[in-house]
């Protein structure tokens, strides 16, 4: 028997959600397989947003990752970046590690792709700010 407590982020209400299932999360996995989505039982939500949120969080949780990468010869030593799509939550750590040693040359344009297909997610790391070149 699986049971997990979540807090809905759909609105400031922050409903406490309880998700239960007859089956457990498969060994070695962080989440249920996506096919299990409609078999989970969600309680505590006061609107459909909470129901949908809980099912997504337990089958395919995703986040946009934002960070910075180093810049050579720029007006600032680093440039802010993001993944251009949300990536699986369990890959956040790998994504950060992949950015650790990335260094790019100024100038950097907002929207410029700095790392392609980060960690095989299909998402690119793109700059979210312009950095001018300074000599």
């Amino acid at each position: 028997m699986f049971k997990k407590e979540l807090t809905c982020i759909g609105c400031p209400m922050g409903c406490g959600l309880t998700v239960t299932s007859d089956r457990d999360i498969p060994e070695g996995e962080d989440t249920f397989p996506v096919e299990m989505r409609d078999e989970l039982t969600v309680k505590g939500n006061t609107c459909p947003i909470g129901d949908d949120y809980a099912r997504k969080e337990l089958t395919d949780p995703r986040r946009i990752v934002t960070s910075t990468v180093r810049v050579r010869g720029g007006s600032l030593p680093s440039v802010s970046v993001k993944t251009d799509h949300d990536i699986p939550k369990k890959l956040i750590g790998s994504c950060m590690s992949a950015l650790k040693d990335v260094e790019v040359d100024a100038p950097v344009k907002m929207g410029q792709i700095l790392v392609e297909n980060v960690c095989g997610t299909g998402s690119n790391i793109v700059a979210t700010k312009n950095i001018n070149r300074v000599q």
């Binding site: 982020i9 400031p12 006061t46 946009i64 960070s67 680093s78 802010s80 700010k129």
Partner: protein, 419 residues
């Protein structure tokens, strides 16, 4: 030097005010910014979630700022950087200082105050102990990490669960620091729910409500802090002390509008918001000086800053063009039952727009309550809200035609009523 409209501050409020003033027909504008680029605090807010209301997408801070910087540049609105406004007089003469130009003055036809806010400091919190290195406001740490590429420390305790503290808990964790705990004095968090879940719960960082820092150890560098539970009077409860070994303490304990300049101009401030008292046109009690954004009252979402600033910019333009008119009769807005303040604090029926947005915050968490507005005791509207919390701004809209039906209107009331 002269200008039609001077805008103090080149952050989200100043940029939106400038664009709106320009679109209203005033071309002679000057934005005054003390940093070396436009965009203000958004430049260091590299996380996403900005602009959902305005652009229907989740932008990062620099991207949101970039949209408004582009609007200002497309309109060729003049701006100065690395320039500090030192003083404003009540007749709208601004004293500026910069490294290149020294001290000089600008006579402005109208002024828009858009200086933003700053963080409550350790000194304002009265935490005992030495003054070692390693104590930062969350925003200072954010600037170090996100713009200057420096890490303030490795073992971190955060006091205060404001949004910047929550965001920094996640950011420091992702950059390899160990955030041990977030302590919050109040029995509820001042931050957005979404930030508590995605910045703390996602990383297993505990949030201790009704807890505060009672001691900081270390003389040259922070070596640890002691956290204790507090009672309902916010006094630490003896015997509940817990020690944490750490090298860094971040403070995220509230934001205060930055109004030194407003005071020098003789502008009346509201003791609750710590921002200027303004009327329906966002005009302060000094004629021709308008205020918007976090210098007026601290906002939860930048989208509302941009909306408010656009109004201030338009009204400043109308003032310069002689279209604004003088207030005939200011009707005060009273707060009742948990409404802490309203912006604006008063409305002139002659000058108000057809629909007037009144923004406010509540003082405690309300569930299934109503926002009720009254004109001279007669109910105008009643809106049910499932939840209202101090961390989120609320608003009501007053309609001009409805208010005008009240012949000799004396007072408007905004109240929270529980069922």
């Amino acid at each position: 030097m002269k200008t039609d409209i001077a805008i103090i501050g080149g952050g989200p409020a100043g940029l939106a005010a400038a664009a709106a003033a320009h679109d209203a027909g005033v071309k002679d504008i000057l934005i005054i910014e003390r940093d070396n680029e436009l965009g203000g605090i958004l430049n260091q807010c590299v996380h996403n979630g900005f602009g959902l209301h305005t652009f229907k997408e989740e932008l990062t801070g620099p991207e949101y700022a970039g949209r408004y910087v582009d609007m200002v540049k497309e309109r060729n609105i003049p701006y100065v950087l690395k320039t500090m406004a030192m003083d404003i007089s009540s007749d709208r003469v601004i004293t500026l200082m910069s490294r290149e130009k020294g001290i000089y003055t600008v006579e402005a036809g109208a002024i828009v105050l858009a200086m933003g806010c700053r963080e409550r400091s350790r000194g304002a919190l009265n935490i005992p102990g030495y003054r070692p290195a390693g104590i930062y406001s969350a925003g200072t740490a954010q600037r170090y990490v996100n713009m200057e590429g420096r890490m303030p420390g490795k073992e971190v305790v955060i006091l205060g669960s404001g949004d910047i503290g929550l965001i920094m808990a996640r950011r420091m964790t992702l950059e390899g620091a160990h955030v041990q705990v977030v302590a919050e004095l109040m029995p509820f968090s001042g931050g957005l729910k979404r930030n508590i879940v995605q910045c703390l719960d996602d990383f297993g960082i505990p949030l201790k409500l009704s807890h505060t820092v009672v001691d900081i150890q270390g003389k040259d560098r922070v070596e640890g802090v002691t956290i204790a539970q507090v009672d309902e009077k916010m006094k630490p409860i003896p015997g509940t002390e817990e020690h944490y070994d750490c090298d860094t303490l971040l403070l995220s304990c509230g934001l205060i509008p930055e109004n030194e300049l407003s005071k020098s101009a003789g502008i009346k401030l509201d003791p609750v918001t710590k921002g200027p008292v303004v009327d329906e046109s966002l005009e302060t009690q000094v004629e021709g000086i308008f205020a918007c954004g976090n210098v007026l009252h601290v906002h939860d979402l930048v989208d509302f800053v941009s909306q408010e600033a656009s109004v201030a910019g338009e009204k400043a333009a109308e003032f310069v063009q002689g279209r604004l008119g003088t207030p005939v009769k200011e009707v005060g807005i009273s707060c009742k039952g948990g409404v802490r303040y309203t912006v604006p604090a008063s409305i002139d029926l002659g000058r108000m727009a057809d629909k007037q947005v009144v923004r406010f915050r509540v003082g405690q968490v309300f569930k299934n309550a109503r926002i009720v507005t009254y004109a001279d005791g007669e109910q105008l509207s009643s809106v049910k809200k499932r939840i209202m919390a101090p961390g989120e701004m609320e608003q009501v809209i007053l309609k001009k035609d409805v208010l005008q039906q009240h012949g000799d209107l004396q007072n408007i009331t905004v109240a929270i009523e529980t069922e």
